[in-house]
């Protein structure tokens, strides 16, 4: 296992290098001059050129990239062109908010969907099964933009029981977590239901029941464990995606996370900040992927590290 982890960590560095090259390339190929955006609208070409010079944007691209990576290796992810503060500081400010929102969305989804999916799988054709299927369809069809605004309209404006934006309280977390988590909850419900039906139809379940083992134990010990394996993959990947920034949800609820910062940086062509965010997000991805793979093998002893 140790050898496997070391190999994966080395692969992580390769992945991050690839991400940095691709993101740098795409960023600089995209039209838009950060110097022009930083200055007032009537800035002369001379003023723009002077600012480009001061910011080092006139250097050859490969030099700019090497300078950036030289700093990144030492933990210096550069300075934001717009905010004029270290990018790492900006990202560190945002990570807790994104982590809180992501965790609430993911764990909320799991708490709701796994029991619902299992019960729906056990009681096929029942009212609860119908509800689960309907919920799965609705959740995956709803646009987060529409859902978020709808939730604000109903619970904040009309019923006045939830804040419409904000950060720092459990109340302020509820609506954004639902907005972010609902599509995931819908997916997990479907996967859990399908997985439960599959497992329950296996011969070994029949054998276990024949042995006289209670239904509760059958579900908790045999069904749940098998159903969790694909769910962990989905949830792990989705957690990583959310950590990259739930842009729409953060924007609607004014949640101060990485997603909002990333969009702002992209629109403003704040190259160093975009690079920094992409590196950090890619790091989350590879680390979470590695953790998911390790968890996988712990859940299913048939899988070996290779």
């Amino acid at each position: 296992m140790r050898r496997y982890i070391i190999k994966r960590i080395l692969l992580c560095f390769l992945v991050l290098l690839g991400v940095s090259i691709i993101s740098f390339g795409i960023l600089h190929l995209t039209p838009g001059d950060p110097a022009r955006l930083l200055l007032h609208d009537g800035a002369t070409q001379q003023e723009i050129n002077e600012l480009r010079e001061r910011l080092g944007l006139n250097r050859p691209l490969h030099i700019q990239y090497l300078i950036y990576m030289q700093g990144a290796i030492k933990g210096d992810l550069g300075t934001s062109l717009y905010f004029k503060v270290p990018n790492l500081d900006l990202i560190k400010e945002r990570v807790p908010a994104t982590l809180i929102l992501t965790s609430a969305a993911v764990f909320g989804s799991l708490l709701f969907s796994i029991p619902l999916g299992i019960i729906a799988g056990i009681k096929q054709g029942s009212a609860i099964d119908f509800f689960a299927l309907f919920f799965a369809l609705l959740g995956q069809s709803m646009s987060p933009v529409w859902l978020g605004v709808l939730l604000i309209f109903i619970f904040s404006v009309k019923l006045q029981i939830m804040p419409s934006f904000g950060f720092g309280s459990i109340q302020a977390l509820i609506l954004p977590a639902i907005t972010l988590g609902l599509p995931l909850a819908a997916l997990i419900t479907r996967l859990t239901r399908a997985g439960t039906i599959d497992v329950l139809s296996e011969d070994y379940i029949l054998a276990i029941r024949a042995k006289g083992i209670g239904e509760k134990k059958v579900i908790m010990r045999y069904v749940l464990k098998n159903v969790l394996i694909p769910i962990i993959t989905v949830v792990g990947l989705q957690f990583a995606v959310f950590m990259g920034g739930a842009v729409v949800t953060e924007n609607i609820f004014n949640w101060p996370g990485i997603g909002r910062l990333a969009i702002f940086a992209i629109y403003g062509r704040d190259f160093p900040l975009v690079q920094a965010i992409m590196l950090v997000v890619a790091t989350f991805f590879v680390v979470i992927n590695l953790l998911v793979d390790i968890l996988y093998t712990l859940l299913d002893p048939r899988l070996k590290f290779s």
Partner: protein, 499 residues
């Protein structure tokens, strides 16, 4: 048992009492929301509206806009001023007995250190002060601000230039702005990026004290979230609201909708050095195809059709001018008579910068198509748009321009210096632009500005003005004190609930 009940009763009273007292002596707070966050706190090195709004609270300036009329200037940290006959020297007498929030006294040295930053450093507002030569201290409360050539916009620029504490700035440099110190009605308390900025009432303010204890600024980008916040009462003032949110706000009896004319105008920039725009007839056809009245009436439901490059409310505005009336038949005739050969005309516009860009540009496109012009409308993200415009990679661009109360910066940067690469060259126009910058006689200057406007309107180059924008904000009923000056940077020092 009786004793237990008594103890319980007393306990409840003790627990509830602080809450009752808090209810009696409640802090007066105003929460204000608009789209942007602060860029960074140096008031001299950013062009951000949010910064200007917070600067009004934390700092003072030598002069302010007249709060009654919104035009002209009133004394602030300067008690009086005079201008030399050639317009190169402004002498200011300064208010005595004023201190910064750290106790440092305000004096002539502060004015010198503040303004000479534009000479000593490369700052984003530096272009407003490019002719500043020096600030001479006559005594502790008298300074002369000297320019290398006549300067007619010194007071306009001073309204946006806060005074800094000289000693503290000399000691800390830019680090001073981590915890800004001014002489203003509020002190800076906290800035959590992306979340809020808090300023608290300064009890020893030299001027009229603020009515409230705390001002909270919330950067909320999403229009619908700001709307929900003000409807719910979480936000007291939701600023910079788009016109299509107005009906929802008007439906709420607890919310007021305020609409005011801004000094911003939307205009079309023409690629004047490229056919068919080299032909005046084609340019005239373009302006005649615009349905300014109906754009304002039906699409924006507010604003004012433009009459020229000087917006209403700005120095030199000519109220005798009327907007160009749409005349499709005449426009068609002019297109036929022009050198236009049917090629595709690229109209570019930025998304997200101005309200209803898509609807307005589609209306403009429709008008041009109606007169026989083949138009491709491209709505681009802001950065791409800015790059293409700056590189001259367009035939027509759609954009806006804000004014600080004087059109000098607009005509100097966008016409004389041709910052948008239109290729338009008019020596008479350029000479007038140079001359008006140095004309200290207001009446003569107004004549020059109107002549400039007349040339732009007659030549229909390099710009065609479409409409003057509105500034819309929603506030909870009962709020007073929002001071607006047309530049979309409200002075919020005295906002409060009337009751």
């Amino acid at each position: 048992m009786k004793m237990n009940k008594l103890v319980m009763f007393l306990l409840i009273i003790v627990l509830l009492l602080p809450n009752c007292l808090i209810g009696v002596a409640q802090e007066k707070v105003i929460t204000f929301a608009r789209p942007e966050d602060i860029q960074f706190m140096d008031p001299y090195d950013n062009i951000n509206i949010t910064n200007i709004i917070m600067d009004y609270l934390i700092y003072d300036r030598l002069v302010d806009y007249n709060p009654e009329t919104g035009v002209g200037f009133v004394p602030a940290l300067a008690t009086e001023w005079s201008v030399s006959s050639d317009g190169t020297e402004y002498t200011f007498k300064l208010k005595q007995g004023v201190s910064f929030h750290n106790g440092e006294p305000f004096s002539a040295e502060c004015v010198k250190v503040s303004l000479e930053r534009f000479i000593n450093e490369k700052l984003r507002r530096g272009s407003d002060w490019e002719t500043l030569k020096e600030v001479e201290i006559i005594d502790d409360y008298t300074v002369i601000v000297k320019f290398s050539q006549p300067n007619v916009v010194c007071l306009t620029n001073l309204v946006r230039t806060p005074m800094l504490p000289a000693k503290a700035f000399q000691e800390k440099g830019a680090a001073l702005f981590d915890n800004p110190i001014g002489t203003g009605a509020f002190t800076f308390t906290e800035w959590r990026r992306g979340q809020h900025i808090i300023a608290e009432k300064y009890p020893d303010y030299w001027g009229e004290p603020a009515y409230i204890d705390k001002f909270i600024y919330l950067p909320i980008n999403e229009d619908s979230t700001r709307l929900a916040g003000v409807l719910r009462g979480e936000i007291d003032i939701a600023d910079t609201m788009p016109p299509d949110q107005v009906p929802a706000a008007e439906a709420d009896p607890n919310v007021e909708v305020i609409r005011m004319l801004a000094w911003d105008q939307i205009y079309l920039g023409l690629k004047a050095d490229t056919p068919p725009f080299t032909d005046k007839k084609f340019r005239q056809a373009v302006t005649l195809s615009l349905d300014r009245e109906n754009i304002v009436k039906f699409i924006l439901k507010g604003g004012r059709p433009s009459t020229g490059n000087i917006p209403m409310g700005v120095f030199g505005f000519d109220d005798s001018l009327a907007p160009v009336k749409r005349d499709i038949e005449k426009a068609k005739q002019l297109v036929e008579e022009s050198i236009y050969d049917g090629r595709e005309i690229r109209l570019i516009a930025p998304t997200g910068w101005y309200p209803k860009t898509k609807d307005v540009t589609q209306a403009i496109q429709a008008g041009l198509i109606e007169i026989g012009v083949n138009v491709n409308l491209e709505i681009l993200d802001g950065a791409t748009f800015a790059e293409r415009r700056g590189a001259g990679n367009y035939d027509i661009y759609y954009t806006g321009a804000s004014q600080p109360g004087d059109v000098d910066s607009f005509i100097w940067q966008r016409i004389y210096n041709d910052a948008m690469a239109s290729g338009y060259v008019n020596n008479e126009l350029n000479q007038l632009i140079e001359d008006q910058r140095q004309e200290v006689d207001s009446e003569k200057r107004i004549e020059m500005l109107r002549e400039i406007e007349n040339i732009i309107n007659t030549e229909v180059a390099p710009h065609v003005f479409v409409y003057q924008m509105e500034h819309i904000y929603f506030q909870r009923k009962g709020i007073e004190g929002y001071r607006y000056y047309g530049n979309k940077c409200p002075d919020l020092r005295y906002v409060h609930y009337a009751n």
